[in-house]
């Protein structure tokens, strides 16, 4: 009975009570003064608990935050459509022409012999290409190049990370193919990070000028011209890209066995360490990989690097042979509460 009276009072309070219910409630209240006080106390409690939500919310402010996130993702795409449209079209035409004729002349010599250099994770190599350009090839990376650069263009294929210091030959453009993304230069030094498994191509220019092109409907189109300390990062799955100002020296520091990370997610740091030290890093909780760090490691061992990361991030790590696990420190002690 008492439950039923509460039900009626709540319905009354929320103005959803039926006529029949209202009569019932009235009769019940009149039946005893005890009921009347129960009624008024309950109404008071309901009003008070409702006032918990009196506080104002600010949807506009929150939305602008969400909107900023969404448009950050979309902006480059828009910029691609607007921007200096005709310049890029003209440039694309020009480069397509050059490439077209280059390819045409290249055809007869298509019986080219290719050479492949492959590094396992943990390995790093420095070698010279037939045109005496220098390549630093990172861990877990593969570079395929013709034994002789006979054609009009010097083309190499890359999966992984490499730093190129290209000898200038204005008649023979140097191109690096990484999936659908092609980087064209005449004579510059630049870094490309394009591990197939990461679905991301990052091109950073140290000196000179570089054109980055993407295959679009079977045709190469220029996405962006890069100048020193420019970096473009392209997601090869959805074609979105971001463009940033960065210190090229930091990016290529890996060739001297140094690492410089600025506000970099642990996920990216882990892959860099995996390639460099030839280990596998796993996170016990995927959320941990989102932690961001800024750190410089100058030619130190894996254990030293991990200890530093552990101090900076407050996370724990355990090594088991070639496997390294990053876990949440707090989990070890178990949860005290709850």
């Amino acid at each position: 009975m008492e439950d039923n009276s509460y039900k009626l009072i709540i319905a009354y309070f929320e103005k959803t009570i039926s006529d029949e219910g209202l009569n019932q409630l009235q009769e019940w209240i009149e039946a005893s003064p005890e009921h009347l006080s129960q009624f008024s106390e309950t109404i008071q409690i309901l009003e008070a608990s409702k006032s918990y939500f009196k506080q104002q919310v600010y949807p506009e402010k929150t939305w602008s935050k969400i909107h900023a996130h969404i448009s950050r993702e979309d902006l480059p795409q828009l910029a691609k459509r607007q921007g200096r449209k005709w310049i890029s079209y003209a440039a694309a035409c020009l480069i397509c022409c050059i490439l077209g004729t280059a390819l045409y002349q290249y055809r007869p010599g298509s019986s080219e012999i290719y050479q492949t250099v492959s590094n396992r994770n943990g390995q790093q190599a420095r070698f010279t290409l037939p045109d005496s350009s220098v390549v630093y090839l990172g861990g877990g990376s593969t570079l395929k190049y013709p034994k002789n650069f006979n054609g009009k263009i010097r083309n190499v294929d890359l999966d992984g990370e490499a730093f190129f210091d290209v000898v200038h030959q204005s008649a023979h453009p140097f191109t690096v193919t990484t999936g659908d993304i092609t980087t064209v230069v005449l004579g510059t030094s630049f870094n490309i990070k394009a591990y197939d498994t990461e679905h991301k191509v990052a091109v950073t220019v140290k000196t000179g000028k570089v054109a980055v092109m993407a295959k679009h409907n079977g045709q190469d189109q220029v996405i962006k011209y890069l100048l020193p300390d420019d970096q473009i990062s392209i997601n090869t799955q959805n074609g979105l890209y971001t463009f940033s100002d960065i210190s090229a020296n930091d990016v290529v520091s890996w060739i001297n066995h140094d690492f410089i990370f600025y506000n970099t997610s642990l996920e990216d740091i882990a892959t860099a360490l995996e390639h460099h030290y030839g280990i596998a890093i796993e996170f016990t909780d995927p959320d941990l990989s989102k932690v961001r760090l800024t750190a410089k490691f100058k030619n130190i061992t894996l254990t030293e690097a991990m200890e530093n990361i552990s101090i900076l991030s407050g996370l724990a790590f355990t090594q088991n042979g070639n496997h390294l696990y990053i876990s949440n420190n707090n989990q070890k002690g178990g949860k005290i509460m709850k």
Partner: protein
Amino acid sequence: MYLQLTDEALTDLLRKNDHLALETLFNRHYKPLCQFCAVYTRDYAAAEEIIANLFIKLWDGRHGSLILNIRSYLFVSAKNLALNYNQKKKEPVDSIEDINICESKFQDRDTPFRILSSRESYAGILTVIDTLPPGQRQILLMSHIDSLDNHQISTILGISVRTVDTTLYKSIKKLRLLLKDFRRSAS
């Protein structure tokens, strides 16, 4: 046009990268979500931040996830995020120690008499509400969120409608007792 679309239609549009669909869902559910979240966090600013992140997560995961009922998805996620937030705060809200501290606080400063005789008696009752068992407190507060009825509360919390109802009655009963005790000891 978007305002008339159902949540399901909006979820489909969201998968097609439609900003407006996200904005419509946001405007439709933001306030009740914040209120719901604030029941756990007891802090509106934190609640608003949690809900902002929830919508960002929804947008980022728009391709991967197959959400059948976006409304319960949002509320259940909000609940989980709020609980995570509370845990990370390292002030376990529901620990026994905390409740004891609260009660001792009552005896020292906020005597029930002062609470109830003050002009802001709602604030007083709210303080007493905070001493209810967490389950009762949550349901009592949630029952006032406009767009949430008892059926929805029961699906979100994963309990039966009947339990929601009886918990609500129990909480009022308990509160009346508490308040009565305080009134008596005050007079």
